[in-house]
């Protein structure tokens, strides 16, 4: 079974036409890979569907814009995968 990182990296490569080998756990999706906000929505849609989750992008962006977190916390791939794993592990509300 593919790891979360492998799955997410494949999604980014497929949706954004970025060479798979250039994507690593330290890559910042926007700053290093050049993904723009629209392309990120395509990535988010694929991740949401593939992992059956809803990434709280609005909350993340609010945290970043209000200075509570650096964007690397959510958009460096290793960190993003950690958040995805946490969302997958989260029990579904009844």
């Amino acid at each position: 079974m593919a790891s979360t990182f492998e799955t997410v990296a494949d999604i980014i490569a497929e949706t954004s036409d970025i060479a798979r080998e250039s994507i690593n756990p330290d890559s910042h999706i926007m700053k290093d890979l050049g993904v723009d906000s629209l392309a990120f929505l395509d990535i988010a849609f694929e991740i949401d569907q593939r992992f059956n989750i809803q990434m709280p992008i609005e909350d993340w962006m609010q945290n970043v814009n209000q200075g509570g977190q650096d964007s690397a916390e959510y958009f460096v791939l290793g960190n993003l995968c950690r958040h995805i794993d946490a969302l997958v592990a989260k029990p579904v509300a009844a």
Partner: protein, 153 residues
């Protein structure tokens, strides 16, 4: 349908919150300045306006589901197909179903049919953002009343 005003829907027939589905109807006018150029002697509703029609149905669905809290803006269209010519006088049935509720965005599958035949379909992504100006919120609420479904919001 008033093409030159981008008023693509005539009415909303149904919003099914459980199925996350909207059904709407519209009649292509017999005359419009749009047909002067598209095309002389061979009037056709442009594909981009069919896409806009599906986007508006999707947008009103999301507005209704979200209680008119945020404005949906078309962000992308995938697998858009225009399967048959749409001409003056055609009566169109438009439907859209929300297939994904993301954070700050939603994805719909929309289609237009005529007499049971699908003439256009697409998967649409819409961003959901706070209304940038109150005039826009007022406009979409007025349109919701015109289309006959605002009471459901």
């Amino acid at each position: 349908m008033r093409l030159e005003y981008f008023q693509m829907l005539d009415r909303v027939d149904e919003i099914d919150r459980e199925a996350m589905l909207i059904r709407a109807g519209s009649e292509v006018p017999d005359a419009s300045p749009v047909f002067d150029g598209h095309f002389p002697g061979h009037a056709l509703v442009p594909g981009v306006l069919l896409l806009e029609t599906m986007a508006q149905a999707s947008g009103y669905l999301l507005l209704a589901l979200d209680g008119f809290k945020r404005m949906p803006f078309l962000a992308s269209a995938k697998q858009a197909s225009f399967r048959a010519f749409v001409v003056p006088g055609d009566r169109l049935d438009i439907s859209a179903r929300r297939i994904h509720d993301g954070s700050g965005y939603a994805v719909t599958q929309a289609q237009i049919s005529r007499g049971g035949e699908v003439v256009a379909d697409a998967q649409l992504m819409l961003r959901l953002v706070p209304f940038p100006v109150s005039a826009l919120e007022e406009h979409v609420r007025n349109e919701g009343r015109r289309l006959g479904f605002l009471g459901e919001a």
